[in-house]
C-alpha cells in the first residue's frame, strides 16, 4: 500500500483546509469538514457559496488547489473503480437519460458493481416499482430524484454524497426519502448532503455546516447553530405596510428602544417583519401592539423566542438566499 492510499483519519469524508479557484475567482477559502460513519452532515449555503464545488472535490470531479481531501482514507482522484464502488453519488439534476427507464438504469448501474443490490427490490424500496418501465422523461421531478437516489444506493456504498436529495418531491415522497436516508445512517453509512431545505436539516442532520463565500461560517448540531442567533422580535401583519407606515412604526418602536429598526423579511412573504437592533423586551412588544391598535392593523403572528435554524441561516448568510429557502 502506498502512502497515498493509507488511511489517515477515522472520518469517512474529510476536507482539510481545502482551497479552490476558478481562474481569478476563489470559491473555497480553506474549508475543513469531516463526516464519520453513522453520521449525516448537511452542508448549507446560498447559491454560489461553494457547496457543489466542495462536493465535486469529494466526488473526484474537481481537483483542490490546496489542502487535503480524503474519502475512506484515499485521495478521490486516485482511488479508481475500487473507491467509486464504495461511494454513492446523487448529482444535482440526476444525470439521468430521459429516454431510459428506471428499470434500465438501475439494472445498468447494478451490473457495474460486483455485489450490488437487487434492482427490483431497490426500485420497490424507493417507491418506483409502479413506474419501473416508464421513460424518465415522463417521470415527475420527485420520481427522478428517487431514481437518482436509487442509483446512489445500488452498490451498497459506505459513503453517500447527496446533492439536494429531496428537491422537487411532494411531502409524502419527502417523508419517505428522509426515512430512507435515516435508515442508511442507522446502517453505519457516512452521509454528506447539500440542501436548501432547512426541514431536511432539522429532521435529518446530526451536524450542519453553513458555507458562505467559500468559508464555513458555523458548524454544529442544528440546535446549537440555531441557538447562536440573536433573539429578535418577529411578527406578521394582516397586510404589508406602506413605506410611510413602516416609518411611523419605526418612530413608535424607537420610543421603547432607540436602536429598534423594523425591517421586512421578504423571504416569508408580504407582511412579515423583524425588529433589528434590540432584544425583544416587553416594552418593544407593548409599543408594537399599541401602534398596530392605533393603525387598525391586525397582528397575525408574534414571536420573541429563540431563533429558528432558518433565521440563523439568514443572519449568517446576509439574507442573500431568501428565495431559495422560502
Amino acid at each position: 500500500m502506498t502512502d497515498e492510499a493509507r488511511p489517515r483519519s477515522a472520518a469517512a469524508l474529510a476536507l482539510a483546509d481545502v482551497v479552490k479557484h476558478y481562474g481569478s475567482r476563489t470559491v473555497l477559502r480553506g474549508v475543513s469538514l469531516q463526516v464519520h460513519p453513522g453520521e449525516i452532515v448537511a452542508l448549507l449555503g446560498p447559491n454560489g457559496a461553494g457547496k457543489t464545488t466542495a462536493v465535486e472535490i469529494l466526488e473526484g470531479y474537481r481537483v483542490a488547489d490546496g489542502g487535503e481531501v480524503r474519502v475512506l482514507g484515499q485521495d478521490p482522484r486516485r482511488g479508481g473503480g475500487a473507491l467509486k464502488a464504495r461511494v454513492g453519488l446523487m448529482l444535482q439534476g440526476g444525470g439521468l437519460d430521459p429516454r431510459s427507464t428506471p428499470a434500465d438504469l438501475v439494472r445498468l448501474y447494478a451490473r457495474l458493481h460486483d455485489g450490488a443490490r437487487n434492482p427490483g427490490e431497490l426500485l420497490a424500496a424507493v417507491g418506483l416499482a409502479g413506474v419501473a418501465r416508464t421513460r424518465v422523461r415522463r417521470l415527475s421531478g420527485g420520481e427522478r430524484q428517487r431514481l437518482a437516489l436509487a442509483l446512489a444506493l445500488v452498490g451498497e456504498p459506505e459513503v453517500l454524497l447527496l446533492d439536494e436529495p429531496t428537491a422537487g418531491m411532494d411531502p409524502e415522497a419527502r417523508r419517505a426519502t428522509r426515512a430512507l436516508i435515516g435508515d442508511l445512517r442507522a446502517g453505519g453509512r457516512a452521509i454528506l448532503l447539500t440542501t436548501h431545505d432547512l426541514a431536511d436539516v432539522e429532521r435529518l442532520a446530526d451536524r450542519v455546516a453553513i458555507l458562505d463565500e467559500g468559508r464555513i461560517v458555523v458548524e454544529g448540531t442544528p440546535g446549537d447553530v440555531a441557538a447562536g442567533a440573536e433573539p429578535r422580535l418577529r411578527f406578521r401583519l394582516a397586510r404589508a405596510l406602506e413605506p410611510q407606515e413602516l416609518g411611523a412604526l419605526a418612530v413608535a418602536l424607537g420610543a421603547a428602544s432607540a436602536a429598534a429598526t423594523p425591517v421586512s423579511e421578504a423571504g416569508d412573504g408580504a407582511g412579515s417583519y423583524r425588529v433589528d437592533g434590540t432584544p425583544p423586551g416587553p416594552d418593544l412588544v407593548a409599543a408594537l401592539a399599541t401602534w398596530c391598535a392605533g393603525a387598525g392593523i391586525q397582528i397575525v403572528e408574534l414571536r420573541a423566542a429563540t431563533a429558528t435554524l432558518e433565521e440563523r441561516y439568514l443572519e449568517l448568510t446576509g439574507d442573500r438566499d431568501v428565495e431559495a429557502v422560502a
Binding site: 473503480g81 475500487a82 444525470g95 437519460d97 451490473r111 450490488a116
Partner: protein
Amino acid sequence: MSRPAAPLRAVAALASHELRLTARRGENVLVTIVIPAGVLVFFATIGTVPGIEGRPVDFLVPGSLALAVIASGLVSLGIITAFERSYGVLKRLGGAPLPGWGLVAAKGAAVLALELVQVAVLLAIAAAVLDWRPAAGTSIPLFAVALVGGTAVFAGLGLLLAGTLRAEATLALANGLFLVCLVVGGIVLPVDRLPAPVEAIARALPASALADLFRAALGNPTEILGPILVLASWGLGAAGLAVRAFRWE
C-alpha cells in the same frame, strides 16, 4: 459494500444498454438503417451512375455501407453522446466504478454491433431486391479493416463534436456533415465526376476513402494504399483531438 464489476462485464453491460437505447430511438433507426437503405435502393433503381463502368449497384453497395458507418459513428453516436453530456449522464457515469477507457470501449462496441446489423440489412436488400452478388475478389479481412477503421474515424469525429460543442450544435453539424459526405463523399457519385477543386478536397475526406476501401473489399479493382493513409490520418487526428478537447460536462 460492493466492488467494481470485472471491466469487460461492465463494458458489455454499458454497450448493451447503449444499443437498447439506440434501437428505441426512431430517429436513430431512420438515419442508420432507413436512409442508407433508401439511398441504395433509390439510386440503384434509377439505373445509372455517371462515370462508372459496370452495374451501378456494384458502386452503390459499398457507398451505402460507408454511409451506414458515417450514420452510426458521426451522426447517431455524436448526437446521442452530446445529449448525454448535456443531461449530465456522462458525469454520472464518471462516478460509477467503470474504468476510464470503459465508456469509449462500450460506445465503440455498441457502434460496431449496430454496424453489423446495418451491413446485414444492406447486403440482404442488395441481394434480394437489386440482384447483387459479392464479386470473386471479395476480401473479408479488408472488409473488417474498412469497417473498424471507418468506425474509429467517424466515431472519433462524432465524440469530438459531442465533447466540445453544445448538444444542439452537434445535432446540426453532424447532420450537415452527413449530407456533405453523401454528396461529395464518393457514396452515390464517383469523386472524379466532381469539379476539380471539389474533387481534390473530396479525395482528402475520410468518406470517399472509406467508400473506396469497401469497394476494394467487395472485389472492385480499386487502389487501397491512398484510402488507408487518408483514413489512418483522420483516425489519429480525430482520436487525438477528442482525447485532448473532450469535456465531460
